[in-house]
Amino acid sequence: MFTNKGYYMNSINLAKANYIKELLSRDLREDSRALMDFRDISINTNILKNAEGSAQVDLGGTRVLCGVKLQPEDTMKDTPDQGNLVVSAELLPLASNEYDYGPPSPDAIELARVVDRGIRAGQCIDLKDLFIEEGKAWTAFVDLYILNFDGNLFDASYMAAMSALSSAWVPKYENDAAVMEERIKKLKVDNIVTATTFAKIGQKIVLDPDANEEAVASTRLTIAVDKEFIRAMQKGLSGSFTQKEIQDAVDIAFEKHAMLKDYISAQSNK
């Protein structure tokens, strides 16, 4: 049997899926959360020495490690006064029985692009700030490493990326070369964007779906917001939402933003 995520779903998950649906019909979840609750969140920053910024986020069983590297590169012709941002994601084979060795899967590319959009649209980093000198600017590489998969990679990755960027330092640049050993100033982060993901299972909508719930979900919606605006959205999987459902989800995403932002800033200011 194939799920709409495109990979083979084993029959044991299917048996669990039936159980999840039955529970949801009574507004219950496997781990006894309320429908609109996040799982436990823990964030650790600056855990890697060689990366300019790093953070590990645990969202329930999902674990995402994010490393930020800054590299001096030639500026682009059309944007001579600014640096660049590159976000990529890897669903590592050690994170799940389902992930295989090989080139990045469409899921990994979607994840990276959705995180990239939120950071850009929210103007979290001023790319002009990355400018070094005529013809040279920093490129910020944000790499998302999925270490353990238990659903909702989007929200965990957003938190990991924002925490790693907020804790990142800019190295010294001297005589046309970067001195990576010497980090002189904090990377300026102007805005924090957080994501909240919803999954629709039957007619019920749950927040922060875990792996079992994602496996049965007919559709998924990620809403990335800052204090004022919606900054990025992504609907995934083949099902659909009504307009009312989307409006309600947006309200909740704004509601959750304050809490998530507090987690992130508390960690990165340590």
């Binding site: 890697l48 020495k49 060689n50 990366a51 790093s54 069983g61 674990r63 490690l65 490393g67 930020v68 590297k69 590299q71 990529s88 890897e90 590592l92 084979p93 050690l94 994170a95 799940s96 029985n97 295989d100 060795y101 080139p103 990045p104 490129t139 590489f141 790499d143 490493y145 270490l147 353990n148 998969f149 238990d150 990576m180 050993e181």
Partner: protein, 240 residues
């Protein structure tokens, strides 16, 4: 090999190494087993400035099918460096030629000790991710993966360890860091089955005499007792 013109002095005047270690001293090593939830077995190692994560899945179905062996299990091994693992460059993601070679020799180490004939027509996956690198990552990877395999309950004849030896001028040194790896006169990563003393991995580049080779292997076998002890403690700590 790095630029030999700016070759730094690797030994201090008092005969110790730049980080203050004796010639035959290991960097601080700590291992924690059972760190990932989904994997059948896993381990995380901090060895000097190296940070290595290893996980094991399986026995499971062989994909693609033509790798299948009707007599025994096949080991699939992935060694990869995270793009943010080194101080200097942002690496390109995905395995390069170096990573593919290391994956291959790592697999061949474990072919010797895992009881593959117990699980015909299946695959055992070993995945090693280098999160932070400072020389000797393949040795750290093998040492970590051995703990992950034992943690997964995959039957093995022995718990292997790996460490490198090298040479600065006429002195044999143990457990090279990145700087020593780049500028030393020889580098030799070795993996050993401690029960039998058999050597399961041997790579070398640089220059060594016959006597120096023997001395290097002796140094490794001596240090291996410490590594084995730390591996054992990591596995036992799971049940505390």
């Amino acid at each position: 090999m790095a630029n030999m013109l700016n070759k730094p002095e690797l030994l201090r005047d008092d005969g110790k190494r730049l980080d203050g270690r004796d010639l035959d001293e290991l960097r601080p090593l700590s291992i924690k087993a059972n760190v990932l939830k989904n994997a059948a077995g896993s381990a995380y190692t901090e060895w000097g400035n190296n940070k290595v994560l290893a996980a094991v899945y399986g026995p499971k179905e062989v994909v693609p099918r033509h790798f299948l062996d009707p007599e025994r299990a096949v080991i699939k091994c992935r060694y990869a460096m995270a793009p943010f693992s080194s101080l200097s460059d942002h690496g390109r993601s995905g395995p390069n030629r170096r990573a593919i070679e290391i994956s291959k020799v790592t697999k061949e180490v474990f072919d010797n000790v895992v009881m593959l004939e117990e699980f015909p027509e299946t695959a055992i996956e070993i995945s090693i991710e280098i999160l932070q690198s400072d020389g000797g990552t393949r040795a750290a990877g093998i040492t970590t993966a051995a703990v992950a395999l034992a943690n997964a309950g995959i039957p093995m004849k022995d718990l292997v360890y790996s460490v490198s030896a090298g040479k600065i001028k006429d002195k044999i040194i143990l457990d090279l860091d990145m700087l020593e790896d780049n500028y030393s006169d020889a580098d030799m990563p070795v993996a050993v089955s401690p029960r039998t003393g058999n050597i399961l991995l041997l790579q070398m580049d640089g220059e060594l005499t016959r006597q120096e080779l023997n001395l290097g292997l002796d140094t490794i076998l001596e240090a291996g007792k410490q590594i084995s002890k730390i591996q054992r403690q990591a596995l036992i700590d799971v049940y505390e």
